[in-house]
């Protein structure tokens, strides 16, 4: 019968699925351990030999099989979990519906309790009314008929309430039984078993032989079997050592069943469990599922009991196994009956049963009291440890406070546990005393128990007070410490703030000094710059050092910019302003320098022109004077030659020896020399005229930078052109001429104050005559003639460009025989001829 009911899938499925999941996970862990072993073996080292290969092949085979089994296991667990989730959802819905229906019919347990209390209060009230009514009748306050009439109403109501209360009591008893029946989880059954054993151990020999003792022993035996079966079903063999081998067999089966379908697996799994074990497992599984998720244990008990008929059947079976066979006598029945009596005041139980129940309960309580005392003793040890921690001033406050707080909690817990047992014992003693009020021993027990409770309360109160005081003391220490720390922190903070303020003040002063120094430096730079500038402008050295001064100013400006940009406080905008100012100032300096150079060039040009003019005049005068002297000499020589010629002519006429031919030749040469001198002077004048005109053009075009050089070169060319035909004679004395070649080949004596220039040097100066050389040297010494910039490539280039410009200007300058310059220009297509008349020169 039970087998058929158990097979109903909606009962078995959740538990079986839980078992599958659990065992699947266990198997998964085992397989992973196997894989770990394989992993360790495979890590052993690289393969080198045939033996290694063989071992490796086996490892791979094991690995593949194990990993496949693992995959199957994981799939089964996954699938079972999914099915379990679905089953749970269905059961929850079904349970709630059933619970609601039952509550609708019977009312909930809480409602019934409230209703019962109300009935009892009303019955009590009716009894008092009945009593008052009787008193009134005795005193003659009411008539007999009136009394009967009122008493009848009260009695009728009392009967109704009594019946209703009895029916309500039956319903509630049933609910309590259901709750008890639901208390069949593994743990609850184990606890019951322990209690039954403790009770049995307390029985005397006579009591053990009594029907109660026999029944209790039978219940213990059956319950023990069931608990073992339950443990065995979940693989716990601590209670059943002899079944380890069987457990190992199951492990092997686990390995094998992985190849089967899930249905086959469940079938196999069911076969492993006893019917009771299966049902108990089902209830256990459901308990685990529903606790905490539904309306609590009572709700769960009710729902579980009514969930399926099979569970009711099991509950009945289980109740029978405990001796609750419906006829009374089983411990649960008796406890339930006792509770019912306490709750509902039902008088259907005989005094003897109460006596037994109370005695049994006292036996239980005695055990519990011993346990409570043991616990209390341990708690005292714990309290001592906590006290040491609490009073250890070297430990942090948090630990000390926790220890003190824990001590209070433990004391409260200790007191509750002790009082709970003690008060329940008191109740039991009072119950016994109620049965036998004149029993002095029982009166003594009640009094002793009251005293024990009082002692427990006093003792615990004393300990708790001490513990609480300790907490307060530590708290005060904490407060004092905190206040001290706060003061120290405040002092430290104040000190830090003062130090920070001092440091800030120091830094501020330092910054101010730095700023002042910076400003002063800037000011100094500016002053220096101004000073330099002023000195440059004001002093006569400026012209000589102008370029260096401008360079110095640029350098100073650069230094100032670098210095200002070193200031890290500057914003980007300020930096840009400084850069812009630097560029503007630099441009100003460059502009000043450019203006200065321009003016300087103009001045130099003007000076060159003036100098050229002076030189031209000097040369003109010198050449003219020399030419005049020369010509006078030639005239004189011609006179001498004429005299000699006349004398030789006279000798020839007289027929005497003569040098007439020689003298004639000499006279002719002198004439020729005079002609040459005249031509030379003509060329010189022509050149000088060209130079004069050229300097005039320079005045008209002051931008011509090479004017000075041009003039100088022109002078040089002029000078060289003057002596192109040879140097002048070094002397007039023909006696010094070592041979007469018609050239300057005189052999002369030289005084130590005189000098003779080498031919190569003479070439370098353009074969200049001694007189011209002396004149130039004298002019140079007097500052009238300066030769400079000839080596300047730029100037030479400009000279060329000027020449080219002049040649292409459409202007032709010529000098006639009279030394007059003739300027021919073509302007606007009209040819103009201008003759610059000069004072006549002496030829």
């Amino acid at each position: 019968m039970a087998q058929n009911r158990i097979e109903r899938s909606d009962i078995i499925a959740p538990d079986a699925l839980i078992s599958v999941i659990k065992e699947g996970r266990d198997l998964e862990q085992q397989l992973i351990k196997v894989l770990e072993v394989i992993q360790q073996i495979m890590k052993g080292g690289s393969i080198k030999s045939g033996g290694d290969l063989k071992a490796y092949t086996e490892q791979v085979r094991d690995l593949n099989e194990t990993s496949k089994t693992l995959a199957k296991t994981q799939n089964i667990v996954k699938e079972s979990t999914k099915q379990l989730d679905e089953s749970i959802a269905e059961e929850i819905v079904l349970n709630k519906e059933l619970n609601k229906q039952v509550d609708d019919v019977n009312g909930s347990f809480t409602q019934n309790v409230k209703l019962s209390v109300r009935y009892r209060l009303e019955l009590k009230k009716l009894a008092e009314q009945q009593k008052d009514l009787t008193k009134q009748l005795d005193r003659g306050l009411i008539s007999t008929s009136n009394y009967v009439e009122k008493s009848t109403v009260l009695s009728k109501r009392q009967k109704e309430l009594t019946v209703a209360n009895q029916q309500l009591g039956i319903t509630m008893r049933q609910q309590v039984k259901q709750a008890n029946a639901a208390g069949t989880s593994f743990d609850q059954l184990s606890i019951h078993l322990g209690k039954l054993r403790d009770t049995y151990r307390k029985l005397t020999a006579e009591e053990r032989k009594s029907p109660f003792g026999v029944s209790l022993k039978k219940s213990i035996t059956e319950l023990d079997k069931q608990v073992k079966a339950n443990d065995e079903s979940i693989g716990n063999f601590q209670r059943s050592v002899g079944n380890y081998r069987k457990g190992l067999g199951k492990t092997i089966e686990k390995q094998n069943f992985m190849g089967q379908s899930l249905g086959g697996l469940m079938k196999n799994f069911r076969a492993l469990l006893s019917p009771i074990g299966a049902v108990a497992a089902a209830v256990s599984g459901l308990t685990a599922l529903y606790l905490g998720s539904t309306a609590g244990a009572l709700d769960f008990a009710s729902a579980t009991t009514r969930l399926k008929a099979v569970q009711m059947g099991f509950a009945n079976d289980f109740a029978k196994s405990l001796g609750a066979d419906g006829k009374g006598g089983g411990p649960l029945d008796k406890i339930a009956a006792f509770l019912t009596e306490q709750l509902f005041g039902m008088s259907s139980f005989i005094r003897g049963e109460i006596e037994v129940l109370a005695t049994n309960r006292l036996a239980d309580l005695e055990i519990e009291a011993i346990r409570a005392e043991t616990l209390a003793a341990k708690q005292i040890d714990t309290l001592e440890e906590l006290k040491q921690v609490r009073d250890d001033t070297y430990l942090p406050f948090s630990k000390r406070v926790k220890a003190a707080s824990d001590a209070v909690d433990i004391l409260t817990e200790r007191e509750d546990a002790e009082l709970k047992v003690a008060r329940e014992r008191l109740k039991m003693f009072q119950q016994l005393l109620k049965n036998d009020p004149n029993n002095l021993e029982r009166q003594k027990l009640v009094a002793q128990q009251l005293l024990a409770i009082s002692r427990i309360e006093r003792e615990n109160e004393r300990l708790r007070t001490e513990a609480i005081r300790a907490v307060g003391r530590i708290q005060r220490e904490i407060d004092a410490d905190k206040a001290k720390r706060d003061r120290e922190a405040a002092a430290l903070q104040k000190k830090r703030e003062e130090e920070a303020e001092k440091a800030a003040e120091k830094k501020r002063k330092k910054d101010e000094l730095a700023e002042k120094a910076r400003l002063k430096e800037i000011d100094d730079y500016q002053k220096l710059d101004q000073l330099v500038y002023d000195s440059q402008i004001a002093t006569a050295e400026f012209e000589e050092n102008a370029e260096q001064v401008f360079e110095l100013r640029r350098e100073k400006l650069q230094q100032q910019r670098t210095f200002e940009l070193q200031n890290e406080k500057l914003t980007v905008a300020e930096r840009l302003i400084i850069q812009r100012k630097y560029i503007n100032d630099l441009n100003d300096i460059n502009r000043e320098e450019a203006d200065w150079k321009k003016n300087k060039r103009q001045e130099e040009l003007n000076a060159a022109i003036e100098q050229a003019k002076r030189l031209t005049s000097i040369f003109e005068e010198a050449m003219n004077r020399r030419s005049t002297l020369r010509q006078e000499q030639i005239v004189r020589e011609i006179g001498y030659a004429k005299e000699d010629l006349a004398r030789q002519q006279d000798l020839a006429d007289r027929g005497l020896a003569n040098t007439l031919a020689f003298e004639q030749k000499k006279a002719a040469e002198l004439e020729a020399q005079r002609d040459r001198e005249a031509k030379k002077q003509e060329r010189r004048q022509k050149t000088l005229a060209y130079l004069t005109a050229f300097t005039e053009y320079l005045k008209e075009n002051p931008n011509t930078a090479a004017g000075k050089a041009l003039a100088q070169v022109a002078i040089a060319e002029t000078v060289s052109g003057l002596f192109y035909e040879g140097t002048e004679s070094v002397g007039d004395d023909n006696a010094t001429k070592w041979r007469n070649t018609g050239r300057d080949d005189y052999l002369i004596g030289v005084h130590k104050g005189e000098r003779v220039i080498k031919t190569s040097d003479n070439k370098r100066i353009g074969n200049m005559s001694n007189e011209d050389l002396v004149a130039m040297a004298e002019a140079h010494r007097k500052g009238e003639y300066q030769v400079n910039a000839l080596n300047d490539t730029n100037i030479v280039n400009e000279l060329r460009s000027v020449r080219k410009a002049v040649s292409s200007s459409g202007q032709v300058i010529d000098v006639d025989k009279l030394g007059q310059m003739i300027d021919k220009r073509i302007e606007d297509g009209i040819k103009k001829t201008i003759v610059h008349k000069r004072k006549p020169r002496r030829i």
Partner: protein, 150 residues
């Protein structure tokens, strides 16, 4: 009646059939007269396997390949045991040899190997006579010299 206990005498044809069918009676050279038990044949097969492993171990390329495969299996094991994403990704990224499990790699075809070897050698092969060792050495030489005959 003899029992082949070495790859020097066992024909490659028999070897392959044993691999395919697991029937160790193919180690017999002739008909079993009942004196040879299966246990004896399994022992003989174990000897042949060991010789085969020794022969394979002489091929450095093969050993290198097996070592690579072993490292891959270790990554697979780590992925199975640890089960974290990194280990799984590492295994999947480097998976090569174990693809054979999922059928990605082409399985070995015995008869095709004989045909290829015949083409390489230039003469027909009687696999009921050619020993396992000779077959393997020819195949090894063919692999070393390329697909064309010398």
């Amino acid at each position: 009646m003899n029992v082949h206990t070495s790859i020097d005498t066992l024909p490659i044809g028999n070897y392959w059939k044993i691999i395919e069918t697991g029937d160790v009676h193919l180690l017999l050279d002739g008909k079993n007269d009942g004196t040879i038990k299966t246990e004896h044949l399994q022992t003989a097969w174990a000897l042949i396997e060991e010789e085969m492993f020794d022969l394979l171990a002489e091929d450095k390329d093969y050993i290198e390949q097996v070592n690579d495969e072993r490292r891959e299996y270790l990554r697979k094991l780590k992925a199975l045991i640890v089960g974290d994403t990194l280990s799984i990704l590492q295994y999947k990224q480097t998976s090569l040899y174990t693809q054979e499990e999922s059928g990605d790699l082409e399985p070995f075809k015995y008869h095709k190997s004989i045909a290829v070897l015949e083409a390489h050698l230039g003469f027909p092969i009687d696999d009921s006579k050619m020993s396992v060792r000779k077959y393997y050495i020819h195949a090894q030489l063919m692999k070393e010299n390329g697909t064309k005959p010398n």
